[in-house]
Symmetry: C2
Amino acid sequence: MLVNGAPGSSINAEDRGLSYGDGVFRTLRMQAGRPVCWERQFAKLQRDCSALKIPCPSALVLSSELQQLGKTQPDGVAKIVITRGVSGRGYAPSPQAEATRIVNLTPFTAYPFDYAKQGVRVHVCKVRLGHQMLLAGIKHLNRLENVLAASEWQDQDMPEGVLSDISGFVISGTRSNLFMLRGNILYTPNLARCGVAGVQRDRVMDWAKQHGVTCKVADFHMEELVQADEIFLVNSVFGLWPVRELADYRRVQHPVAWKIQEWLVDESH
Amino acid sequence: MLVNGAPGSSINAEDRGLSYGDGVFRTLRMQAGRPVCWERQFAKLQRDCSALKIPCPSALVLSSELQQLGKTQPDGVAKIVITRGVSGRGYAPSPQAEATRIVNLTPFTAYPFDYAKQGVRVHVCKVRLGHQMLLAGIKHLNRLENVLAASEWQDQDMPEGVLSDISGFVISGTRSNLFMLRGNILYTPNLARCGVAGVQRDRVMDWAKQHGVTCKVADFHMEELVQADEIFLVNSVFGLWPVRELADYRRVQHPVAWKIQEWLVDESH
C-alpha cells in the first residue's frame, strides 16, 4: 500500500475520509502489473473528485503508483481512495486541506467459474436506497447503505444482492451495476437519484451501441425485472455474472449476457 | 489522542470507518477534566452503535480515556469515533472485525458572546437531506450531505446553516438541532427520515416537560419556521444559540430561548 506515495498502512486519524466519508474511491483489476481499463477508471475518479470539489491526483502519478505495486503482485485487485485530507473538527472543508491518496493492491481471489457461466443466485435486499441527487452516481465513501444491504444475508451460494430505492425502483447490485434484456432491448436503472455508475456499466452501453442494440436507462420495478429474458450484473472485479435465480426469476441460458461477457474481456473495448 | 487506548494519531488505512463511513461518533464538551453530560452522551453512542450492530466499548473504558486526556487539557472538545474496525474489501462486515475506538481532545475555542445572547444569523442551505429511515437520527460517519451543506457559504457572520429535506421539511442546522416556539408550544423537526438526534435536543425536550411546556415533534416547512416567535439551535459544543436572522425572520428578543439556555448550563439537568 502507498499512502501519498510512500509505503505505509495507516492514515491520520483526523482525515476527513474517516470523519465524514469525505472522499471517493475506485476498485479495479490489475493484470500483468497494469491497471485494467485505466483510462476509463481514471476518468470516473476525476469526475467523482470534481463532483465533490476534491483535487484529483494526476493519472500519471496514480498509474505509476499502481505499476510500482504491480511489480510484486502483477495480478490483483487495486483500490484507490482519494479523500479531502486532514482537517480539524467542522464539516466545512478547510481550503488548506491537501487531498489524501491511498493506493492499495491485494491478491485477486478467483470466483467459482460457475458464477460467470451458469449465473448466480441473487438475494433481494430489504434495504432501500435513499435519494440524494447531489451524490447519485458517485463512488463516494458514504457507503453505509451498502454495508447494511450486504449484512442482510450470509448464504455462500448467493454472491450478490439486488437493491431497490425508496420509490421501489431497481437500482443495482450491492457492488455491481445491473442490466436486463427484454426482447431486443437492454435496460439499466436510472442512477439520477442514487446508486453508483461504474465503468463496466459504461462499457456494456458501448457494447450495445456498437452492436446496434438499443440500451435504455430507465426506472423499473422488481416486478418488471423478474419478467426479463436475461438479467446480468457487472463490476470491474468479477466482470459479468448472469443471474440464474432472483425471487421468482429462473434462467439457465444467458446467450446475450455471454456475448457481452466475452466482449468485456477485451480491454480495448 | 488515544486509538484503542494507546497514544497515537493514525489508524489502519483499511479501517471500515474510512472505507465506508462504517461507524459512529460523538462530539462533546470537557470541563474540569470531565466529559459533560456523560451519561446522556454514552447512551446515544451505545444506541447508535447498536443500530449499526457495532460492539460499543464500555462507558468505563471511554470515560477513563477521556479523563486521561483531560489531565493535560481540562477544558476542551472531545470527539469519540467508534468504527466497525479493519477488514479487507467487501461491504459485508467480517464477524472477526474488532471495533476501532478513537478518543480525541482538542482545545475549546470560545464563540463570540453575542452568538449566545443576541443570537446568530443563519444561512438557508440549498442542499436537501435525503431520506433513509434505517440511518435517520444516528450520528454515523456518512456525513457528505453535511459537508456539502457547510461548503455553501463562507460568511464569518453566519455561524450556522439550516437544512431542509427533499420533501421541503426543516430538519436541523448543519451541526445542531433546531427548535421553534409558536405561541406557547415548542416544535422540533421529526427526525424519522433524516437528521441526527442529539443530546441537547433531548435536554430541551426535558426542559419543556419539567416546565409544563408542550413540545411537539413535527414536520414543518421553512415558510412556517420564519413565522415562529422564537427559533434556536442547540448542540453540545456551543450550547444554545437563538436565531436573530434567517431569511425573512428577524428577532432581537429571545426570552424563552434565554431561559432554556440558562437551564442547559446546569449539567445535572
